[in-house]
Symmetry: C2
Subunit: 407 residues, 2 copies
Amino acid sequence: MSRLEGKVLVAQGGGPTPVINQSIVGVALEARKFSQVTSIYGAVHGVRGIIDENFVDLTRETTHNLEQVAGTPSSGLLSTRDKPDEEYCARMFEVMQAHDIRYFFYVGGNDSSDTVRIVNEQAKAANYELRSIHIPKTIDNDLEENDHCPGFGSAARFVAQAFSGINLDNRAIQGVYVGVIMGRHAGFLTASSALARKYFDDGPHLVYVPERHFNIEKLLADVDRIYSRLGLCTIAVSEGISDSEGIPMITKLRGKEERDSHGNVQLSGSGALGDLLADSIREGLKIKRVRSDTFGYLQRSFMGIQSDRDAREAREVGEKAVQYAMWDNVDGSVVIRRPVLDYSVDYELVPIGKVAGKTRHMPENFINAEGNGVTDDFLNYCRPLLGSNFPEPHRLRAPAVTRILKA
Amino acid sequence: MSRLEGKVLVAQGGGPTPVINQSIVGVALEARKFSQVTSIYGAVHGVRGIIDENFVDLTRETTHNLEQVAGTPSSGLLSTRDKPDEEYCARMFEVMQAHDIRYFFYVGGNDSSDTVRIVNEQAKAANYELRSIHIPKTIDNDLEENDHCPGFGSAARFVAQAFSGINLDNRAIQGVYVGVIMGRHAGFLTASSALARKYFDDGPHLVYVPERHFNIEKLLADVDRIYSRLGLCTIAVSEGISDSEGIPMITKLRGKEERDSHGNVQLSGSGALGDLLADSIREGLKIKRVRSDTFGYLQRSFMGIQSDRDAREAREVGEKAVQYAMWDNVDGSVVIRRPVLDYSVDYELVPIGKVAGKTRHMPENFINAEGNGVTDDFLNYCRPLLGSNFPEPHRLRAPAVTRILKA
């Protein structure tokens, strides 16, 4: 097979993650090794950067600075939520042709994988020779075919560390605590809060994911049971929880919707869901101290919290994408397999149609029968993804003093 | 002066911090060195633990476990918001006398320092011989006489790391971002978000603290100016911001109040203020993407983020408190001085009346003239408190590619 000569273009779409730059840098460093690559460009703001002819020349980056950027969260090439159609693609190919771009690597989640599928199809239809490879990334961990997705491990670590602290905080001044976690259709990130548990009475005591219908009466009964026993209750809930008719609780509450260009209801960037749930608990159970936090953008962007394992894998999927394109001259989506539970990974290239626009949900064996918690299967699945040196809380073990007056 | 023989009691009041256990452990380890100390007890849930005769025997703790607990956020002895009155104190002294407690060390902020003042006065009135020393702690950093307070540096580090990530996130998918930070009357913690700035266009671009009246029209004008220039805007705002009549913005919005036993309006544990501000900006300036996060309890409890300097000082104030009590046989409040800006500290014992129930505000020279940002004086004051190895973001420096089609 003759080698396809031309420029490499790498970009990112959708929400940032703590390790997305690892994948960009994986592409940039690996692509430098192939003589058919005439230059390595980055598109600024994803596919929109192609339309705008807004490129930076990554061949003019030092390896040192690329490594520094790799360790920085979010996307150094910035992002977009644009979704290309036929006309959008035609303009992209015009720009690509002008710059002789023949390799397109797009780092992203569900929507961005669909972008790669569209670009791929449109390139064939337009007879524009282009290798298009999707590189996985999403803190939601909801890409089909993948055991887990780059970005998830670091976000999960943030959530677990947060709940580890919340456990201590809610023990000190007792009450009910509701933490609202990102996750539109998949509950993996919310479920990762359960990795915060160390002591028997540690929370989260209740975990609600979008894979199960949410019912406020069930919530109140669950909280009442825990609170009566422990005098406190810590709850993790996905922003995407919906009722039995599939209506998101946030939409019910807000009375209005905000949608992005992919047609998704805006769930993040508001504390409304947490406040609603806290109010319901406060009023329904007559508990005075009920608090809610919405973890918001911190969980996907926080500076200084990365899973080292997640970072390495994010680098590898970028590197592998280039290898597949250069050695095999094929299109597709890089996926992560896990041959050994604790722990090894392998990579594979699958047809983009197997991933594009699809959503992976938590498997049945990860959610408990009551639909208000996770199983050991999930804990065993998730634990290695958090990376090494997970901080551990410690409690006083000082013995109680025998009462004199109230003996 | 004859040595006062008896037991030491240590406890904590008010909101936890990431380093409060350092102070508890500082007391426990230092008190072991004095032969007049017959035992070291911890009261569980602050002063309420005294009423309930709920003590643990810290002399039966291993040094190793004390050190482990010292590195754990929140309060291992748990906390309370109880405020003692004369009758409450009478019951406390009854329990203290039964256990021969003669030294009382109370770690806390404004309200807890007032508790120490009350206990101190009531003990004198009741002729109960007791040394009462207040050990400073508050993420709000608002104790009088102190250059800064243990707990603040770690919370400030969390806020600064969060905004460092938010800067990257809001660059990637541009919009307006509002981060709501804890701080009822003092804006120190909100101001610490400014330590996230590295590049010229980094945020937070606007910082609003409770020391200045908040005005929504002024906010809109400020945001409009920044957004027009940068295409994005990142804002840090204190939960305690109030209008020119002193009414908290959160109260205006919620239409109802929740107060604790100290009479404080509940500000935390709700995303309402952030949502209100986001709605105002969205509607007032017709900007589509406006998001808000309320940092909530994460900023005071997050597991795994401590300022090493803050941790050391929290330990030292506990240690010093015991030294003052044992060597000088006096009451008072331990305060932190800073003889050298960058950086050394010294400790002093001041009369409790100088600290109790008072609130320190940000000095004039820390807030800019427009009341929407901080000064270099503040940055220089705050930077050393964040501790060592503050994570640093890095940007791509790849040169722009010359346009071919749109040249």
